[in-house]
């Protein structure tokens, strides 16, 4: 019994927990659609690679469709925004450790984002509803 207690406490020796560290510090990660990848830094380096590729993709879309107008402009903008949102989520989820931290931190970040998004959409929509508009 005491051995079990000590083993459990040993895992909590470092404030973040040794078991968590072993999982985080592995250089080998399972990447969706690609398989097992081994790189110095493990998941952090894989995420950086993804961020770099997505940034290149963003710039290509922005430059290749620079003169897009009307619906094409809307599709281009939506694509760019989606990619940047995905990049932001990668950083927040993996680098800021929201993946493994207390779930309340996710809500602390999400609530102001949701409130602000609703507020901005409302403010952008008010002149349209009033007969004015930006378009």
């Amino acid at each position: 019994m005491s051995d079990t207690v000590h083993h459990q406490d040993a895992q909590a020796d470092t404030p973040s927990g040794a078991a968590h560290h072993e999982h985080t510090h592995s250089d080998t990660v399972q990447v969706p659609f690609i398989g097992q990848v081994t790189a110095p830094g493990g998941i952090y380096t894989v995420v950086f690679g993804a961020l770099a590729v997505l940034t290149v993709l963003e710039v290509l879309i922005a430059e290749l469709f620079k003169s897009a107008e009307g619906p094409a402009f809307a599709v281009r903008s939506l694509a760019l925004f989606t990619i940047s949102l995905f990049k932001a989520i990668l950083v927040v989820w993996f680098y800021m450790h929201l993946r493994i931290d207390n779930p309340i931190f996710r809500w602390i970040l999400l609530v102001p984002v949701i409130i602000v998004t609703i507020s901005v959409v409302y403010l952008l929509g008010v002149p349209i509803a009033a007969g004015g508009g930006y378009f």
Binding site: T14, F48, V59
Partner: protein, 205 residues
């Protein structure tokens, strides 16, 4: 009355440390939540200008180009990678690698600020200032400078904080409890996330 043994004290203090760490992280997340609101207001101001005056924004994009700001974006993304690697190193007890990666964070943050300075110099040559109105760019100044300069100030403060983290880390301050590094990392990654959004909204869309 039960004797308070060294063991029970050790276990209790470890629990207290963990609880204290969680409280510190909560405080930083609450601070970051307030930053979300501030940056969102500035971003909203730019979005409204973007829809109102698309030609001015197009002129700015055509004049500035995409090269410098893309390079700057890669620098900041790389600094975010270096930051998380620094935390990983100190958690694994490798102080040497921690100092190396933190040096990269501070260095790349400085490079980013130099890139921003170069871009601001270009804009000043185009007579784009905070309150200027030109035929080619309208009143884009404030809408552009507000979010980007506010972000730049965050990078500057981050560089100073990073130097402090390096200084304390060099003396072994984070060897037993690297929470200070993790907290600084949260701030630095948030600065990176804001730039990810600004880069897309201001320079690409």
């Amino acid at each position: 009355m039960a004797e308070i043994t060294a063991d029970s004290l050790g276990h209790s203090s470890d629990t207290q440390v963990k609880a204290h760490n969680e409280n510190l992280k909560l405080a930083v997340w609450l601070y970051l939540a307030s930053e979300v609101v501030i940056f969102s207001i500035m971003i909203a101001g730019y979005i409204i200008f973007r829809f109102n005056e698309p030609q001015f924004v197009k002129n700015l994009h055509d004049t500035l180009g995409i090269g410098l700001v893309t390079a700057n974006t890669f620098v900041l993304l790389a600094s975010s990678w270096a930051m998380v690697m620094a935390l990983r190193a100190i958690q694994m007890g490798n102080r040497q690698h921690f100092m190396l990666f933190m040096g990269l964070v501070v260095g790349m943050g400085t490079v980013f600020m130099i890139g921003q300075y170069i871009e601001y110099s270009e804009l000043s040559h185009l007579a784009i200032t905070l309150d200027s109105t030109t035929e080619e760019f309208g009143a884009i100044g404030m809408r552009f400078y507000a979010p980007t300069f506010f972000h730049g100030v965050h990078v500057f403060v981050g560089v100073l904080l990073g130097l402090q983290v390096m200084w304390l880390g060099r003396k072994g301050f984070y060897d037993k409890n690297p929470i200070g590094v993790e907290l600084f990392g949260l701030y630095w990654h948030f600065v990176d996330v804001v730039w990810i959004m600004l880069f897309t909204l201001i320079y690409l869309v």
